[in-house]
Symmetry: C3
Subunit: 267 residues, 3 copies
């Protein structure tokens, strides 16, 4: 597995993102929409935050990939999310579900579970959110996980198998599974948890990689690797969470093939 | 008063915020939601921007503190704000009202005045907003105060006494009153007025301190002190309003007990 | 033309913005509201993101200028936009239409075309958006132009003549026309396209300049010049798109008359 998902595969996919400039539609929360768009631009993708009814569906049919993040799911956006997920499925546009705070809060929990019928290509969340999505968890504290990634691994594998999707559990070590295999990415930095959107942005980066990768497991792992290595590079010069968020954008734009080869830590 | 609210009390409360990681629910305006969440994270708190109906109330009952900021009060958010304020009062969760542009604009003025029935633990605004909340003012220019803090002090003291709340009037010198006492905080820097959310973020910081302090006056003063001292530290290296906003987050994360002791300017 | 719109005219208008502190009401998209408010503050203006029904109209009547940007036009905001445009026209408040992704997406296309009846003082968009507004284009990719500015020049000139407005087409070289004349601004930097809001912020800056300039063509050109020269200055020290966005705010606050005189590139 680590052979097929090694550094050269990551590098190929990163180069593909940068050369093909995928159009990533984001229906995401109000808090992180700016940093999410900026991260996609820095990576070399084009963001489009098209999230109103009657536009979200048509756009999902032509976008390169779609992100649906349940962080602040107002009524109008919930309608647009359902419309976009249905259109993405119908058009075979890859799409990512990021079930922010699912399991804790009732409106988004019902929404996210309902969206599963449109077969997300990948699901990214922390352990509490993945458990909450499957109904197995006690819920987190908003975006904070109260469970370690390992605690959600069985639920994630079952979810991945049943839906034919990829589940990425974020944590100090990220766990990515297709139900049969589990890839662990140990890159990253604690400052990612000290900026808002540290996890949400990864969902958008995964969408960008899904747009260029035939294999969803490889694409999800590659996105996680590139993002967490950029975070490591950003942490080198950051003086705190404010400068870290700025450096992260700079490093997403400048992370090199060599950085990937030298820093990759898969298991 | 300055004895009980001196540097050691501020330091104790700052340490308590950092060690207890309060969960601060923010129903705030769309412009500053990102910087507000980032400031809370930098300070050591956990933000949750839960602001939709049917989620805002249940969450306010379990959050450590709640912020309600009227900067962009859409219809759905107004419902959620009323729900959250009622739940916070019922659950004895401390909550802060930040009446942005109240007195100038009709929808939010009616909303903010109505929210007073749920007994906010603290109210933070500029002089024009405090006067507008009490019906005494002619209104500001959006978030700009046209009145000096002193001009709103009588209205603030009356409001504080009648509601049993703390009123913090932001300005070059911040005035904090419980109706009987007035504490003046002379820390801060003009660059706080050159970044969006310079005042709004303080409302969230006050909520974080209310979560750990038994005495609302002390907590409000301590929050103001820590925030405005972080601003002073940020201004040392800032080259303009863009880098100041970045440095402010870094300094909220790194401000030390020694910084507080050396820089505190209460009156 | 270049004589009347030369460096001294730009400098005069920049000084007028800084000395008069215009109040710029922004009804803009959720992604860029923070950076837009920060850019206006850095420039020396006062932003107010008043965009709900029953407040947007009354505020537009007293604001110095209004920006309407169709990037994320939710139903409630669309009502407020119509209200604000009508009030701005009635009160002779200058206002800018930024038709983000118009021509591509149906809801905002209908909205933007309808808003033309309220006679915007200026319209700013990329070539695809200007063509989309007039019904002549095939649409862009969200905020990405698929057409060069020159391709939209005829449509822009016709639009400007028919409505008595100014049309600014953003691109590597910005084209500004009143229907009779075309001014080309060759200042700027590619990093403006690597941050979200690079174009949207210019719409707000144009509104700020319209507030102080009697002649809408001069004001639109001056805004474009100041903004794109600030971008050039920011690019000198930026290490990537993250630091560029920070430096841009710093440079908007510090750009000098001398910078304008030395760097101006009009044609």
């Amino acid at each position: 597995v680590t052979a097929t998902l090694g550094a050269e595969r990551v590098v190929d996919l990163l180069d593909a993102v940068r050369s093909s400039v995928p159009l990533v539609q984001c229906l995401t929360n109000a808090v992180v929409s700016g940093v999410t768009a900026n991260a996609l631009l820095a990576l070399g993708a084009t963001p489009a935050m098209t999230d109103i009814p009657d536009e979200a569906g048509p756009f999902a049919a032509v976008a390169s990939a779609v992100l649906i993040n349940t962080g602040t799911p107002r009524a109008e956006q919930r309608v647009a999310m359902t419309e976009a997920a249905a259109a993405a499925q119908a058009a075979a546009t890859p799409w990512v579900l990021d079930p922010v705070a699912v399991g804790t809060l009732p409106v988004r929990t019902a929404l996210a579970r309902d969206l599963l019928r449109f077969s997300p290509t990948a699901i990214r969340g922390n352990a509490s959110e993945i458990l909450g999505l499957t109904g197995a968890g006690v819920g987190g504290r908003g975006v904070d996980a109260v469970d370690a990634p390992e605690a959600a691994l069985d639920a994630a594998a079952t979810l991945a198998s049943e839906l034919g999707t990829i589940v990425a559990i974020s944590g100090a070590t990220d766990h990515v599974t297709d139900g049969a295999r589990v890839i662990r990415v140990s890159n990253g930095h604690p400052l990612l948890t000290a900026m808002t959107g540290g996890g949400c942005v990864l969902g958008a980066v995964i969408a960008a990689f899904l747009a260029v990768g035939d294999d969803a497991l490889s694409a999800t792992v590659a996105a996680t690797v590139v993002y967490t290595i950029a975070a490591e590079l950003a942490a080198v010069t950051a003086r705190g969470p404010g400068s870290f968020a700025v450096e992260l954008l700079d490093c997403l734009a400048t992370v090199t093939d060599r950085d990937v080869r030298e820093r990759l830590r898969l298991a």
